[in-house]
Subunit: 390 residues, 2 copies
C-alpha cells in the first residue's frame, strides 16, 4: 500500500429534508453568500424558494449567479468572482449538479486571487499559487461527479475548446446537503449519464496494472455493484428513494479521494480523452465516458493487467471461467451491455461525432504526456480508441 494522507473534512448532511439545515450551517461562516445555480430546475422543484427562505430566516444576504452551463464556462467564473469581490461575499453556495459546484469552486478561488485563475491554475497548473479561497458549500441535485465532497473543479473555455481540471484541498465544500428527493426529477438520460460517471470514477481508480490495493478494490467493487443494482431501478422508477439515495452516496464516495488512498497507481486516461470530446462537442460528460470506456477497456487489456479485469468480472458481475483473458473480455462485454441498457449510445457516430477533430483532440489529450497506467497511451493510441468508438 502506498503512503497517503487522508483529509476529508467536508460535512455531509444526507437525507430527505436536510435542506432545512441550510441556514444554520451557512450562518456558521458568513452573513453574505453568493448562490450559484444553473437553469430553472431548482425553481421548479421548490428548492430555490426553500434556500431563499432559509437564508432570510438567518438574516443572510443572498446574491445570485444563475445560468451556469452543464460544461461550466470560465466567463461564469469571472462574473461570479466579480460579485464576490464587490460585495464582500463570505461563502459560495452551489445548488445543482457537478457543473454548478465546479463553477462555484472556481469562483471561490478567483474571488481571492489577484491573477487569472484560468491561465495560472487550469492551464498552467500552478497550484502552488492557490493560497486562499472562499469557503464553498453545496446542495446537490444530481448524483454523478462527486464534486460535493472533493476538491476538484473542471472548467471549460469554449472559444479555445478547452476543458481543464484542477484539484486542491481548499476547494472541498465545507458542507454539502445531499437530499435524494432532489434527484427525483432528473430525467432518464442524465440519470444514466450520472450512473456511468460514478462507475467511471471508480474504474479510473480501480484499474491499475499493479497487484496491490486489495482493500481499496473490494470497497470500489461495492460501489460498482451498487451502481449496477440501482441504476436500472432509478431509471424505471425515478422516485425510488432507496435507489436515488444509494446512487447519491455512491457518487460522493466514489470520488471524495478515499478510494485511491493507498493505491499504487490510478488511470484516468478515459477522463482525459472524454474531456477533449466535451471541449469540442459540448456533450454530456457521463455519456462521453459511457461511449469511450468499453473501447478503452478493449484496447488496454493485456495478459499483464488482466487480473484487474478478472477481479472486476468475478466480484462485480459474478463471471467465472478458467481463462483470464476470456473472463476479462466477458466483463468488458457486460459493461458495454449495461451502459447500452441504460440508454447510453454505443458509438460516437450515434451522437453526431465523426473523425474530423480526432487528430487535434488526441494531440491535446496527451499534451502533458502519455495517458493512464493500464497501458500508457500515446497520441496514436488515443486516435485508435477514438476510431474504435466511431
Amino acid at each position: 500500500m502506498k503512503n497517503f494522507n487522508y483529509n476529508i473534512p467536508t460535512k455531509v448532511l444526507f437525507g430527505k429534508g436536510k435542506a432545512e439545515k441550510l441556514g444554520s450551517e451557512v450562518n456558521k461562516y458568513t452573513s453574505k453568500v453568493l448562490l450559484v445555480y444553473g437553469m430553472s430546475s431548482i425553481k421548479k422543484s421548490g428548492l430555490y424558494d426553500l434556500i431563499k427562505k432559509q437564508l432570510t430566516d438567518f438574516n443572510i444576504k443572498c446574491f445570485e449567479l444563475a445560468g451556469v452551463d452543464p460544461n461550466p464556462r470560465i466567463e461564469s467564473v469571472y462574473e461570479g468572482a466579480k460579485i464576490c469581490k464587490e460585495n464582500n461575499i463570505g461563502l459560495v453556495l452551489a445548488a445543482g449538479g457537478g457543473s454548478v459546484i465546479d463553477c462555484a469552486k472556481a469562483i471561490a478561488v478567483q474571488a481571492k486571487y489577484e491573477g487569472d485563475v484560468w491561465q495560472d491554475l487550469y492551464v498552467d497548473s500552478k497550484l502552488g499559487e492557490l493560497r486562499d479561497a472562499l469557503p464553498v458549500a453545496s446542495i446537490l441535485t444530481l448524483a454523478a461527479t462527486g464534486s460535493e465532497m472533493n476538491g476538484n473543479s473542471v472548467i471549460s473555455k469554449m472559444e479555445t475548446n478547452e476543458k481543464l481540471a484542477i484539484g486542491h484541498g481548499k476547494l472541498r465544500p465545507v458542507f454539502s446537503i445531499l437530499d435524494p428527493t432532489y434527484t427525483f426529477t432528473v430525467n432518464k438520460f442524465h440519470t444514466a449519464a450520472g450512473v456511468v460517471d460514478i462507475m467511471s470514477h471508480v474504474f479510473e481508480q480501480y484499474f491499475s496494472p499493479d497487484k496491490r490495493g486489495y482493500l481499496q478494490s473490494r470497497l470500489m467493487e461495492g460501489i460498482l455493484k451498487t451502481a449496477v443494482h440501482f441504476g436500472p431501478i432509478a431509471l424505471k422508477d425515478p422516485k425510488d428513494y432507496e435507489a436515488r439515495a444509494n446512487l447519491m452516496w455512491s457518487s460522493s464516495l466514489a470520488l471524495n479521494g478515499m478510494m485511491s488512498c493507498g493505491k499504487e497507481s490510478t488511470d484516468w486516461a478515459t477522463h482525459a480523452m472524454e474531456h477533449e470530446l466535451s471541449a469540442q462537442y459540448d456533450i454530456t460528460h457521463g455519456m462521453g465516458l459511457g461511449i469511450l470506456t468499453p473501447y478503452w477497456m478493449d484496447y488496454v487489456l493485456s495478459e499483464e493487467n488482466a487480473h484487474r479485469f478478472v477481479d472486476y468480472a468475478k466480484n462485480v458481475w459474478g463471471i467465472e471461467g478458467d481463462s483470464e483473458m476470456s473472463v476479462a473480455r466477458k466483463a468488458i462485454d457486460k459493461t458495454r451491455e449495461f451502459f447500452t441498457s441504460l440508454g447510453i449510445p454505443k458509438t460516437l457516430t450515434e451522437v453526431g461525432i465523426d473523425h474530423e477533430k480526432f487528430e487535434i483532440m488526441a494531440e491535446k489529450a496527451v499534451k502533458n504526456g502519455p495517458l493512464g497506467t493500464m497501458k500508457a497511451l500515446e497520441k496514436e493510441d488515443v486516435l485508435e480508441i477514438y476510431t474504435m468508438a466511431l
Copy 2:
C-alpha cells in the same frame, strides 16, 4: 437509507515513516503535550525515541503518562487529567493501540471538565455535559479498535467490574499517524484478536434485520474480505507490509462512523456482552468477541433475518445454496472455523471462565434495556448465549 450526518475530520497520515511528520503536526496545536502510552513496547521499537526527538525538534514540551493498561482504568484518566490541568497541556498524544487512545480521549475530556467524567459521562451517559475537550492525536501501534479515527472511548473501573463506553465527536483525534511497520512486532495472539475486533465492528453494523443499506453492506463486505484475506498472512509473516497495512486501514474504516451512515439499524449486542466479560475477567476484548460472536450468530439467526447471513455467506465466503437457513448456518460455521484458525479459543471454558458470574454479567449487560436488533436480547437470552459459549 436513513438520514445521517457525516463528519469525519480526523486527518490520517498513513504509511512507513509518517511519524517523521509528528512534530510539524503537533506544532499546529500546541507547544505542550501529554504523551500517553502503555508498556515498554514503544521504547523497544524505537517509537518512543522518535516521538521525543520530533517534539524536541519543534520545541514542544512533553509530559508523560506511562503504564496505561489494556483495559484502561479510570485511575489513569484522573492521573493524566491532573498532569494536563497542572501544566496547561494543549494536546493529548496517544502512542499505542485502542486502549491507550481511549484513555487519552478520556483524559482530554477530564482535563476540561469540572465534575467526574466517569460518573457523569461513562456511567450516567450525560453526553450533553461534554462541551469541551483537549485535542487528541494518536500514533497507532495495533490494528483493531478504530479508536484512531472515531470519537469512542471505553474505560474500565475494576473495583466495580464496570467497562463502559462513550462516543462524542469532540473525541475524534485531530490527526492519527498510521505506520503499519509499528505493528510488525504485535504477537500472534494480539494480531488475531485485532482481526476479530475489526470483523466484529463490521458485524455489529452489518447485521441488521431490515433489508436496506445496500451500499453500506457491500462496502462492509469489502472490509470483511480484507480481514479474512490478510489475517492469516499477518499471522504467518508478521512483517508482511501489505497485510499489516490492509489490516490497519481496515481497522480505521470499520469504525470511523462511515459504515453505519445511512443504515436503518445496527446491532452491538455482542460488544455489550463482551464488555461484561472483560469487566469481570480482564480478558482481551478481541478474544472475547471471537468466542461470543459465532454463538450470538447461532442464537439470533431466524427466517426473518437470514437474508443478512445469506449476503454475508455469498459475498464474503462464496457460499452458494438454495436454502437460506442452510447457507446462513454454513456462514456461521465458516466464521467459527476462521476464528479458530487464527488461534482464538472456541469456548469460555478454554480461557478459564465458568458460569459463576453469568447471572450478574447478564443483568448488567441489559441494564439499559434489551440488546441488539437482529433479535432483541433480554437477560435470559444473554444468559443462554453465555451458556452456549461455555
